[in-house]
Amino acid sequence: MGERPALNTTILLFLLQDGITNGAIYALLGLALVLVFAVTRVILIPQGEFITFGALTYASLSAGQMPGTIKLAVAMGVVAFAFDLFTFRRALQAKRVLRSVAVNIVFPLAIWGIMLALAGKPSSIPVNIALSLLIVAAIGLYLYRIAYQPIAHTSVLVLLIASVGCHLALQGFGLVFFGAEGQRGPAISTDAITIGALRFTGQSIAVYGITIALIVGLWLFFGYTLYGKALRATAVNRLGARLVGIRTTLSGQLAFLLASVIGAISGILIVPITTLYYDTGFLIGLKGFVAAIIGGLVSYPLTAAAAILVGCVEAFSSFYASNYKEVIVFTLILPVLLLRSLAAPEVEEEKD
């Protein structure tokens, strides 16, 4: 290890910039985690796999390869369709079955068809991004249908253990599809501007822009649209929401759809900046968690702010004590939990 340079303004700004860029990604993930938890009470550990799948699908497509994730999407669609049929078995109405066929069978096959049609031709970045997002969105949707919807009424704990199972399985698939070697993807924009000592790449500006756009979008969605309000109602009281005509399974699917797309976007945003491995997503996702927990799993703005903090702590600890970077970031959660426990004593949960 070489002598560490003294901290000067340039390095300080550079670390801050690095921290904010990473923090923006964690903010996106934290927001998705809060969203899913608020609506379904699922603590979404497999969020990390959405990141990896999004990033590596995009990287594979850009390299002219056919990613294995599309096969997974098709297979999961078939299983989800089987689950639907089993649920409908007492009343097989044509409309419901057709809808299920469209969502679970036709949709992933259509994506596959497009991919096969485009194979061999020079690929364009927007098309690759769109395809990656669609694939991961499909996986997220079916994941909810298969793993969570049958146990949606159970405790947070059971849902959490199910999450861990999903994480293990999806990460295993990640290794099968993408191998143990890391990949990088092409940048969305190769332009850069320089302000003073700092150089802002187009990629980092895209990160900021998309994060802010998504935060504002989520805020508008939850505050001002009927669907957003329906999601919030489901979060507060499932039974009550059902009684006023909200389809709670639809709310869950919607939340997972949003979360998987957000995860995939985050992945696509970072894969040009750092090399991603099949298991990197887990760690990145967990850092989003640290932010979400600081935000108490309920507050979007607090989560976003906490995510920036996590990113900066990470950047500065990699400068001062790079060996202990992960230790510091994950230990950050303990004082936060302590503060929470001192500030808000446990409230009784009515169980079952």
Partner: protein, 590 residues
């Protein structure tokens, strides 16, 4: 006694014979060693998660504390492995105290998330610290030895591992079947009911957390001397997840479920690792995929795990009969002041934000008196109960019990003063028997701690508690249901069980929140007779009830609340004709 120990003894004999079966492959013994090591951790998780309702994904880190403690001490300082055993357990337990104090007060999902975070953090820390050998770890750990006999091969370390498993299982079962065990088992259903009977819930949570960590530390200590090396990999977050998986597969609510889960998961993992690549080709984490899918499928198909399914195949054992008679528990030392004031509520006020739920309410309950608190729905009756029993802190005002102020006191202190209560929404542990639920009421009248319970030194104390519980159950007329699970009773009967539990406190003042709801006419008459009999015995009763016939025939005095404010107080005859009361119940026109 023997019927309890016989299956364990048989199991111990079978396990002792296995290594001597001629021609048994050495590989199987290694597998059994690993099963034993995982069983220890899983057993801790059974108590923590399945019984206590606290989830930890970080148990592998506690194994790490145990393993690294002995690794460092026995290699760098040459300390004998037997001497490092208590130190390993101590370090794991101490780490649990620190982490537990940080996170135990948090509800529900924060704890598991916190455990994931520290699991990862400690895993990286193990891999970075110089004196722990960084990622390479520590090798050359001496084997366990007795005299000149060194336990070098898997066949000899097999014995300490399985002796530890069987001892741990015995201790765990003893602990669960005791006063402390009942307190731990009550945790999963929330803390309000347990605290109302004097259980220090935070302490009980910390206790079971430390117990689980110590078992994990023991597993780590054995692991270090089995592998004779320690590195961060087996103490990482994925192993922490796997231990929880083991507990869930086996049946998280059952001590032997931990052992069964360990056997199933480890054998399955071994089989998958050897056959999957051959079957499907390719390499890598194929078993992780199968594992993950199995875990999700298991939660959907058999959320309680394999152990209860297995035991349900066995013929049902006859349930225990009434506990043997034992010496009566000593009664309350202080006697009620004759004709004195037992409970005084002065200008009690509770605001939730802008809503005034209880508005400067004052009343008192004298000894040997039945007072009814009535009022329309939402009048603040249950909130008043919660203010008296310390479940909610009052915004303003005073509550005194026998002259002692209990404003701001925790529920545990209020019950010590002789105030016992029931709940409007029944708070029993449904998978505990009626007897066990009622015995929780006598928690403060016993004194045996966790260690005494594990070593069965608590039997005299325990017999008294159970005899008292049985006496109270028979007093309320549920003697035939004593050994049924509380959850299998009708709602009305469950309310009566709550009364028996409250009576176990040996209270001076009984607070009953809608005791007659869900009872049939005859049962209501029996309840009224019981309450009168309690009054003759010197007890006072404060009850909330909507059945006016019941209240008017029973109460000596009635306090009427409406929208949080006291609007009347008097004898039943006065209340029946009070115009304000009639207006509150029937509207202005009446």
């Amino acid at each position: 006694m023997t019927s309890r120990l016989l299956p364990i003894f048989a199991f111990a004999v079978v396990m002792a014979v296995i290594p001597f079966i001629p021609g048994i492959p050495p590989f199987w013994i290694v597998l059994l060693d690993n099963i034993g090591l995982a069983s220890l951790v899983a057993m801790g998780l059974v108590l923590l998660t399945g019984v206590g309702g606290l989830t930890s994904f970080g148990q592998a880190a506690f194994c790490g504390f145990g393993a690294y403690t002995t690794a460092v001490l026995s290699t760098a300082y040459g300390v004998s492995p037997w001497l490092t055993l208590p130190l390993s357990l101590l370090v794991a337990g101490f780490a649990a105290v620190l982490l537990g104090l940080l996170t135990m007060r948090l509800s529900g999902h924060y704890l598991p998330l916190g455990t994931i975070a520290w699991g990862i953090s400690l895993y990286y820390l193990f891999g970075k610290l110089e004196f722990l050998g960084r990622n390479d770890g520590i090798s050359g750990i001496p084997p366990l030895s007795i005299g000149a006999w060194k336990m070098l091969d898997p066949g000899t370390i097999y014995f300490p591992i399985w002796i530890a498993v069987i001892i741990a299982a015995l201790l765990s079962m003893n602990l669960l079947d005791s006063r402390t065990g009942r307190a731990i088992r009550a945790l999963r259903r929330g803390h309000v009911a347990a605290e109302a009977f004097g259980v220090q819930t935070a302490r009980a949570k910390l206790l079971v957390f430390i117990y689980a960590a110590v078992l994990a530390g023991l597993s780590g200590w054995l692991y270090a001397h089995f592998q004779r090396a320690a590195n961060p990999t087996p103490f990482g977050p994925h192993l922490g997840i796997e231990y929880l998986f083991i507990a869930v597969v086996g049946g998280a609510g059952y001590v032997w479920g931990g052992v069964l889960g360990a056997a199933v998961v480890i054998i399955l993992k071994e089989a998958l690792q050897s056959y999957l690549p051959a079957l499907l080709g390719g390499s890598g984490q194929l078993e992780a995929i199968v594992f993950g899918i199995l875990l999700v499928a298991l939660l959907q198909l058999a959320p309680t795990g394999m152990w209860p399914w297995l035991t349900s195949l066995l013929p049902a054992r006859e349930s225990r009969r009434r506990p043997a008679p034992a010496d009566a528990l000593p009664g309350r030392a202080e006697s009620a002041p004759t004709d004195g004031v037992l409970l005084q509520v002065e200008k009690a006020r509770k605001q939730f934000g802008g809503v005034v739920a209880v508005n400067d309410v004052s009343f008192e309950v004298k000894s040997r008196e039945i007072v009814a608190l009535i009022g329309p729905n939402g009048a603040g009756k249950s909130t008043t109960f919660n203010l008296i029993t310390g479940v909610l802190p009052a915004t303003a005002g005073q509550v005194t019990v026998r002259g002692e102020s209990v404003s701001g006191a925790p529920p545990q202190k209020v019950v010590k003063l002789g105030v016992a209560r029931t709940f409007q929404h029944v708070k029993l542990v449904p998978d505990m028997t009626v007897l066990e639920n009622v015995a929780l009421g006598a928690h403060l009248r016993g004194s045996s701690g966790a260690i005494a319970s594990m070593l069965r030194l608590d039997r005299a104390d325990e017999a008294k508690l159970l005899a008292e519980a049985a006496r109270q159950i028979e007093r309320v007329g549920l003697g035939d249901q004593m050994n049924q699970l509380a959850g299998s009773l009708s709602l009305g009967q469950q309310r009566i069980v709550e009364i028996a539990r409250a009576l176990c406190v040996d209270p001076m003042l009984l607070l009953l929140d809608e005791p007659a709801a869900g009872l049939r006419h005859m049962e209501k008459q029996q309840l009224a007779a019981l309450l009168r009999q309690l009054r003759e015995g010197g007890m006072s009763v404060l009850l909330v009830e909507h059945d006016m016939g019941f209240v008017m025939n029973l109460a000596d005095r009635i306090v009427v609340l409406d929208f949080g404010t006291k609007i009347a107080e008097g004898t039943p005859a006065q209340i029946k004709t009070n115009p304000d009361v009639i207006k509150a119940y029937l509207g202005a026109a009446a």
